[in-house]
Amino acid sequence: MIEAVKSRLIERLEKIVGNQFVSTNPADLYIYSYDLTPAEPHSPDIVVLPQSVEEVQAILKIANEEKIPVIPYIAGGNVGGLTIPLQGGITLDLKRMNRIIEVSETDMYALVEPGVTFGQMKAYLAKNHPTLKYTYAFSPQSTGIIANAIVQGLDNLSFRYGAASHWVTGLEVALATGELVRIGSCAASKTWQAIVPFPELDGLFLGWQGATGVITKMAVSLWPNPPYNEAVTFMAMDIEGAYEIFQSIIRTRIPDDLIGTSFALNKAGVAAYEHKKMCLYPAIHRLPDEPEFVITAELTGNTEKELNAKAEAIGEAVKARCKSYKYTGPETVPSTTAAFPLQALGVLSSGGGLNWVGTYGPMSRWLETVKRGCELQDKYDITRSCYTRIMNEGHFAGLRWMIPYDKGDPTLVERVKDLCAEQLDMVLETGFIPYKTPVWAVRRLEEKVSPDWLKLHRRVKAMLDPNSIMNPGRWGMPLK
């Protein structure tokens, strides 16, 4: 950015938010320049922390006028490099906008600002609305509720209700021009309970990685919070067996959450919960008597009797379908849904790096995709670390291979990047679509999609963001 423009911009931004919330300090620019993935770092020119919708609008008006990129930021932990400012500009850190504005007990939704985190929501509901719960992502408590919904995150109620973007019941968005729009019932009334029966304009903003506007308010569904919970686990000796166990459980429609992990990843998670460090390098290979996959179904009940009946029904379903497969279980274990999997971060981030090819795709191609993805990990001599979550009662699945790595080891970084590139090509071939899509994967995906989809996509982006200031270089517009 030209210095004269920058100075003028800083002066105008300081008038909006106050000088303490505008920074051009090299330390800030460095910290906001990259994330835990191997994405190439790019510095913003300025970091700004607004506190109100009006401030966000004013900042966008200036940025649009000056044609300066704006990158919305909350915690930066998206594992996709999505808040790295590819073309510099303004990093709009929204953490000061952290009000839970409304919780409707009857309509079961919460209206939140972008800085509200999963931790904050959990504590707030526990204290004020204990009969309701939101969902919790496999991520730290500092993860933003809105950020998670924008990137269509998978959470611990995804088996029942699908991806987090499906639970959005209303939006308020500051457009690139600074205009403010409301989407859903809130556009016509004071309530935020539903997107339908309007034309579903939320799709102009959800899944766009902040490339079409800044979401300043979002209403999300809350769910009843039954008092009893537990988990049942199964361990499959091969991936085929894991698939059959999943199918058995899916057809029961019973769990709140249904996930599976490679055995080594599960072991590392258990070690981390015990405050131990388990290094996944060099690659850990499964011993002959060890299982390949660990499957966990999270259950809730209004009574203990209901809970036990659910566990029993799942056990019977698996037993009936999986006679020809080797597995152990069901084992009943305490539910982990009440907590965030924070301790697992000890393993998943040791070395400061975490990368994955995260995808959503059809259960019909799950088995082939998981097998090929794990074989690619073997090829690169990286521990098998498949993580899968069955979504929306089995209509699709979240699937990724979680690869923690040491950011200080350049050779390993390259190996991880090469593995992910090959895994991406493989999943695109089997019909899985990347989510939280890093920019390198966006470009690969754009090569695969139909030209008319791409044309429409770019037309939408151009309509909403005529000067291409919103998180540019990602969805809807390649780098120039």
């Binding site: 300090n25 994330d35 981030s349």
Partner: protein
């Protein structure tokens, strides 16, 4: 720790943000981050600053970068919350950056006065050394440098030179005398423990004071040093073992000693003190001591005072919010120090307590200053002051 020794921890932080809030309570944990909100003020930001400096991307001669490094109260709440294996090395990293800044000559003017005062008068307040024992005037207490005593009471810099707090050491002495303890003080010959010098990166000054302290008390042949200064206490317990001199005496915090005296029925607190109080856990008496954090002793003492009703704040014990004064912040960034203290006072007030009680002179002073600045209607006491009212 030197910057070169940080390599193992530099890539441990994934910037996940878990350090920002108290686990499972999800209330703010980091004073500097909470006040300034920029990522560079949070612990994870500081870990990344360290990475940038070691890798030559950032420089310590940038005043604003150093300001961020010094905007840390060393409360260790981040280390309590962080689940990653490097979690016990976050403040060490900050301290190493401060130490490197000193080595490079990029000094913080606010600390230069303090260090000069240490060199000249053995205290961090620029006060004449001769006045160090003035707090004890009229108490008729033994001079431990001249007379053999069983226990030496170490007041520390803050209690020695802050007349508003003299009631704390005076209460402590009255209690010890009431229990029949053979007690003495070093008076004007008492020195700083060196802990603050260490925390602001002056490793050499710390070593000098640690050696002096250990050699002095070893040669006096005392059985125990008791202090009301939590900073000093954690320095004895946590930092002195880094010095290659054997410590031939015990160290105890005043609240531990009082707890023992009460349990052994050597001290009887009989007078009613009708107060509803909440207890603030000083970071240096809690988290700084790891698993040996002193959490029960002060509460036991307070509970043994007739008439006291105790209520807990939401963030207590290992998860206590800092007072804001630690690691040199009260000397270099008064705004952050007092804002942090006032956040705690608001939390204390919300419990319904009319008084906040603590066991650290730096906390007490900072809270009193915050009351003056922000006007929160709450009284501030040390545990010894409350106990003394019951004599």
């Amino acid at each position: 720790m030197a910057l070169k020794d940080l390599q193992e921890w530099l890539y441990g932080c994934a910037h996940c943000g878990t350090c920002k809030d108290v686990l499972n309570i999800f209330s703010p944990a980091c004073p500097a981050g909470e006040k300034y909100q920029l990522e560079s003020y949070f612990p994870s930001g500081k870990m990344l600053i360290a990475r940038g400096i070691v890798n030559g991307i950032l420089n310590l001669d940038d005043d604003d970068i150093r300001e961020r490094i010094y905007a840390c109260t060393g409360c260790l709440s981040c280390e309590q919350q962080c689940g990653v294996y490097h979690h016990q090395h976050i403040f060490e990293t900050v301290q190493a950056l401060r130490s490197e800044a000193v080595t490079q000559g990029s000094l913080n003017p606010a600390y230069m006065v303090m260090v000069e005062s240490l060199k000249k008068d053995d205290n961090v307040f620029g006060k004449p050394k001769a006045e160090r024992g003035d707090w004890a005037k009229g108490l008729k207490i033994k001079d431990a440098g001249k007379e053999k005593t069983d226990i030496v009471y170490h007041a520390g810099c803050m209690l020695s030179f802050e007349p508003d707090l003299w009631e704390v050491p005076r209460s402590a002495i009255k209690l010890l005398k009431a229990a029949g303890v053979d007690i003495g003080i070093m008076g004007a010959e008492e020195s700083c423990c060196g802990g603050r010098a260490y925390e602001i990166g002056y490793d050499g000054e710390f070593t000098k004071y640690a050696e002096h302290f250990l050699e002095t008390f070893n040669s006096l042949g005392v059985s125990s040093v008791v202090t009301s200064c939590s900073d000093g206490y954690s320095t004895f317990k946590k930092l002195y073992p880094k010095i290659n001199i054997e410590m031939k005496f015990e160290t105890q915090h005043m609240v531990e000693y009082l707890d023992e005296l009460i349990k052994n029925k050597k001290l009887k607190l009989t007078k009613k003190v009708p107060l509803q109080v909440t207890y603030h856990d000083p970071c240096h008496l809690g988290r700084h001591l790891g698993e040996k954090g002193v959490y029960d002793a002060p509460r036991n003492v307070l509970k043994s005072v007739p008439g006291i009703r105790m209520v807990e704040m939401e963030r207590n014990r290992e998860n206590a919010w800092c007072c804001g004064a630690g690691a040199g912040v009260s000397q270099s960034n008064e705004e952050l120090a007092l804002w942090t203290a006032n956040e705690r006072l608001k939390e204390a007030k919300a419990t319904g307590a009319t008084a906040l009680v603590t066991a650290c002179s730096w906390c007490e002073k900072n809270f009193k200053d915050a009351v003056k600045k922000y006007g929160e209607d709450i009284e501030i006491y040390d545990v010894a002051e409350i106990a003394c009212k019951a004599l």
